[in-house]
């Protein structure tokens, strides 16, 4: 007890006397008490003392007391106070900062700042220790939950990966943590957001569990409660957490979209107009934009991105984002990010692209937002990052947008009536020949996007002439070729060469126009032959070589001196196949090629190093092999030629197929018509057959009736003759007799009423044919019978 008291005294600051025990001794005794004392109050006091000593004697407390403290956590759960001391002590020894009063022995001095990490390692080696801390999170008592939360935060900071795995497999570990978000005490709720962010980072399984546990719902609730975009840092923390849940995880992204959480982003973008932008709002909005961009990222599966883009449109996010572009007073950074976000919202989605196209600025007169954006892109006063973002936005606007591409080309054609309003096309065309090489690079790349997969546009662009006082103004192509020759700015040249490559690829007509330009090919050959030390010049040479390669691969075979064979000969002789390939390889080996190929968004450390473009690199990769083959094939067995002839063949076949299709359609129509006719006539036949049948029946019935009447008449006649009174009107009788056989086959008139027929039909069920046979065979006796019957009636 003495030792203990003195130990306490030293903590409390009483002057240390020489004969007092060392810190290590005190700690040792305290640890012993914590472990072995039977009285809770005693253990509690010892724990408190350990906590007080843990700054100064961190190593001793950590090394000797760790097990004892864990034992407390396990056994003294019921007492909140001792648990809180234990948790806090553990927190202090695992902390990474070096305390002022800390006594650091020399041997550990060099990596003393890693002490906290090492103790963390020791602590989590026994996995159940982490489970114990998790259990304490379930305690509602602030004095327990709070240090437990802090300790866990520390564990995750020091050893994220390991602790993540331990929590993942401990029963309900993750679920317990998410409950912290509902804690009414702000400090706990806010810190649990940080804790969960650390827990979630790059662990897809935990991300999914949290999505399952309604994390998005709860986060949006907190964000709303805190005032959306104008809320404090908690909003930013929540958004960052959300981003961690979504980033690189298609499952949670799908869940986010399916759960209609996209529409809950909207309030975060509805900002008061003409407002100041405090730094916190800038940060919050930035985080929101990152979330949107994650959902519609070009690197996601196309199907996922396009359904999210659709949802962004329907839920009003696209509109809000476009509003942000034209709003006043948006600071530079969020504006740049907003431009990139709009870019990805419209990329390859035709509806969203047309939406963007129609957005106008607020000013008077209002302008198309695209024109305004391009204006900033070509303005060297604007920040570099923003100019890059605009290029990205324009690229995304034209990506798979045939209609938009054609619009850009159309506006350049001389047929178009004179427009006073500046349009995107004219801006870009002017920009091509700007004095600032970056502007011309931007313009060239932007304009090249209008030509990608646009064979019709490539041909149309050949007709574009530049307005000047010259009665015979140069064409756009001539102007570009001559400006490449006259400038000494590499960036300018690179932009224009990329533009030419895009233009000439798969377009023999453009190649033909180029080959006809005086001094075109010769200049390129000289360019390709130059020896350069500068990397940037290597790219220029490589691109010149590439353009020549395209002229070879897509050679129209119409320009004298530059037909495929002569061009190949020229290259082999003047440059050499090896050198030619080396020059091409210089391009793909360049660092800016690697960087540009990674992502559609143009990026560079500084304006001078923005050299190659994503879409161009794609084209380069595609054509490189084709050019090599075109160069290496012997005359006569030309791949390119084959390609052209194949193309022709394909076109012919296509025409034939089209013809056959038309024919088929015609035939089908004809067959349908015939079928209809046949059906009609079959119906007619059926109807006639029924009619005929009915008439035949009538006929039979009538014949039969006639026969009966005849018989009757005959019997009467005989009866009368028998009685000797057959002298009345024999002519009349005769007449009737003759009438019937004439009339009945003709079925004429209304002489035989249905009533009449029915009466006569009833007794006969046998057909007349038989009757006729029977009739003459009736013998005398039967006839008499008949007569008798009749008389009786």
């Amino acid at each position: 007890m003495e030792y203990f008291k003195s130990g306490l005294k030293s903590v409390l600051g009483t002057p240390v006397v020489d004969d007092q025990p060392s810190g290590a001794d005190i700690v040792e005794r305290l640890v012993e008490r914590v472990q072995h004392s039977t009285l809770l109050a005693d253990r509690r006091d010892a724990c408190r003392a350990l906590k007080a000593l843990s700054r100064k004697y961190r190593i001793e407390v950590g090394a000797k007391g760790m097990d004892a403290l864990c034992q407390v956590l396990e056994q003294d759960r019921a007492d909140a106070e001792i648990a809180s001391y234990a948790l806090e002590t553990l927190k202090l020894i695992m902390n990474n900062e070096i305390y002022d009063e800390e006594e650091i022995p020399d041997i550990t001095a060099k990596d003393s700042n890693k002490l906290g990490e090492r103790f963390t390692e020791i602590f989590i080696k026994k996995q159940e220790n982490v489970g114990l801390v998790l259990d304490y999170l379930e305690e509602f008592d602030f004095h327990v939950r709070w240090p437990a939360l802090q300790l866990l935060l520390l564990l995750l900071t020091n050893k994220a990966k390991d602790v993540q795995e331990i929590i993942l497999v401990s029963p309900m570990g993750v679920s317990k943590l998410i409950d912290m978000l509902s804690d009414s005490r702000e400090v706990i709720r806010n810190n649990s957001v940080l804790l969960l962010t650390l827990l979630t980072k790059s662990n897809a399984n935990i991300q999914k569990i949290l999505a399952f546990e309604n994390a998005f719902d709860r986060l949006f609730d907190v964000i709303l409660e805190e005032g959306n975009a104008d809320g404090g840092i908690v909003v930013q923390d929540c958004l960052n957490f959300m981003l961690t849940l979504l980033r690189n995880n298609i499952s949670t992204q799908n869940f986010f979209k399916e759960g209609n959480f996209i529409s809950r982003i909207l309030p975060l973008l509805q900002l008061p107009a003409n407002d100041e932008w405090p730094i916190q709002r800038i940060n919050n909005v930035h985080a929101v934009l990152q979330i949107i961009r994650t959902l519609v990222s070009p690197t996601n599966p196309a199907q996922a991105t396009s359904s999210c883009q659709q949802a962004m449109h329907t839920s009003g996010i696209l509109k809000a984002m476009c509003d942000l572009l034209v709003a006043n007073g948006v600071p530079r950074n969020p504006l740049t990010e907003a431009i990139s976000t709009v870019a990805e919202l419209v990329r390859g989605h035709n509806d969203n692209q047309s939406y963007l196209e129609a957005v106008k600025s607020n000013g008077i007169p209002s302008k198309d937002v695209l024109v305004l954006l391009l204006w900033s892109m070509l303005n060297d006063k604007q920040p570099f990052e923003m100019r890059c973002a605009v290029l990205y936005c324009f690229q995304c606007y034209l990506y798979r947008n045939d209609f938009g591409k054609m619009k850009i080309i159309q506006k350049l054609l001389p047929l178009e009536k004179e427009v006073t309003e500046t349009c995107a096309s004219h801006l870009l065309c002017q920009g091509l020949f700007s004095k600032e090489s970056l502007s011309s690079w931007f313009a060239a790349v932007a304009l090249s996007y209008a030509l990608i997969d646009n064979p019709d546009g490539k041909e149309k662009l050949l007709n574009v002439k530049l307005a000047s006082n010259d009665p015979n103004p140069p064409t756009l192509l001539q102007q570009i070729v001559s400006s490449i020759q006259t400038t000494d700015k590499a960036q300018f040249k690179i932009g224009h060469l990329m533009f030419l490559s895009t233009w000439f690829s798969h377009c023999s007509l453009a190649v033909e126009s180029f080959l006809k330009i005086n001094n075109g090919i010769p200049y390129f050959i000289t360019q390709a032959n130059r020896l350069e030390n500068e990397e940037i010049e290597e790219i220029v040479n490589g691109l010149s070589t590439f353009v020549m390669g395209i002229c070879l691969a897509f050679n129209p075979e119409t320009v004298e001196n530059f037909k495929k064979d002569s061009l190949r000969h020229l290259i082999t002789k003047r440059i050499g196949v090896e050198t030619f390939m080396d020059k091409l390889n210089d391009v793909s080996r360049n660092e800016s090629y690697t960087r540009a190929s990674k992502h559609p968004q143009p990026t560079a450390q500084n304006p001078q190093s923005l050299l190659l473009d994503y879409e161009f690199c794609k084209l380069f990769k595609m054509l490189e092999g084709m050019i090599m083959r075109a160069l290496n094939t012997l005359p006569g067995q030309d791949d390119g030629e084959k390609l052209v002839s194949n193309q022709k063949e394909i076109d012919e076949l296509k025409a034939t197929v089209d013809e056959l299709k038309t024919e088929l359609t015609e035939k089908t129509n004809r067959i349908e018509e015939l079928c209809r006719l046949a059906n009609d006539s079959r119906d007619d036949t059926d109807r006639m057959k029924t009619e005929l049948f009915r008439l035949q029946e009538n006929h039979i019935a009538l014949m039969h009736a006639y026969q009966l009447k005849e018989n009757e008449l005959e019997s009467y006649r005989r009866l009368l003759a028998m009685h000797g009174i057959w002298n009345e009107n024999p002519d009349q009788q005769q007449q009737q007799h003759q009438h019937h056989p004439q009339e009945s086959p003709m079925f004429g008139g209304g002489e035989f009423t249905p009533h009449h027929l029915q009466q006569q039909q009833e007794p006969t069920t046998v057909t007349t044919g038989e009757e006729k046979v029977y009739q003459p065979m009736l013998n005398e006796h039967e006839r008499n019978e008949l007569i008798r019957n009749d008389l009786n009636v």
């Binding site: 993942l168 546990e213 329907t314």
Partner: protein, 211 residues
């Protein structure tokens, strides 16, 4: 898409019994014959109608492999329904049902509706577990039972929808506390009573949702 309630389901059972195929058949109406191992957990959703009310089923398809067992345990707590699946052509998957059930009962809330599914009923010739055995097991443990075929889609709709019906009935009876989201039930946006704090603009947009 608006809904009256959202129910969370989990699908559990040994690996290869056809959990993912059941989900795919239910959400996409197609069958994938190649076994594609589920890693961790995958997710699917579909809107159904129970008692004329639109109900959104949010289904979490878990990995059957032992290695993922501790991860899938995290999903029990927040689920309102579970489909416990075995393969009628593999006796061992039936024998493991007890373990699965113990696990589920231990970690889930007590009201979770569990449906026992004997899958692959199209493979009658390879059958190892009689239908009666499934029925008996279900009776003994108080589960609803059904044999399904994710391949022919036989009974698949019924399995999911009957589970939903059961949950719905429990809500009507007041067994489920629907305001506690930890039960795996969520009230639809327009049916919720307590969201007056959400501005009008948000309500409007939630109506014309994404899916």
């Amino acid at each position: 898409m608006s809904y009256a309630y959202l129910f969370k389901y989990i699908i559990i059972g040994d690996t290869g019994v056809g959990k993912s195929c059941l989900l795919l058949q239910f959400t996409d109406k197609r069958f994938q014959p190649v076994h594609d191992l589920t890693i961790g957990v995958e997710f699917g959703a579909r809107l159904v109608s129970i008692d004329t009310k639109p109900i959104k089923l949010q289904i979490w398809d878990t990995a059957g492999q032992e290695a993922f067992r501790s991860i899938t345990r995290s999903y029990y707590r927040g689920a309102a329904g579970a489909l416990l699946v075995y393969d009628i052509t593999r006796r061992d998957t039936f024998n493991h049902l007890t373990t699965w059930l113990e696990d589920a009962r231990q970690h889930s809330n007590s009201n979770m509706v569990i449906m026992l599914i004997g899958n692959k009923s199209d493979l009658e010739t390879k059958r190892e577990v009689k239908k009666e055995e499934g029925e008996a097991f279900a009776r003994e443990h108080g589960l609803v039972f059904m044999e399904t075929s994710a391949k022919t889609s036989d009974n698949v709709e019924e399995a999911f929808i009957n589970t939903a019906k059961e949950i719905y009935e429990k809500i009507q009876e007041g067994v489920f506390d629907i305001n506690n989201e930890a039960n795996g039930i969520k009230i639809g946006p327009q049916h919720s009573t307590g969201n007056s704090s959400i501005p009008g603009g948000n309500n409007r947009s939630s109506g014309n949702g994404c899916c």
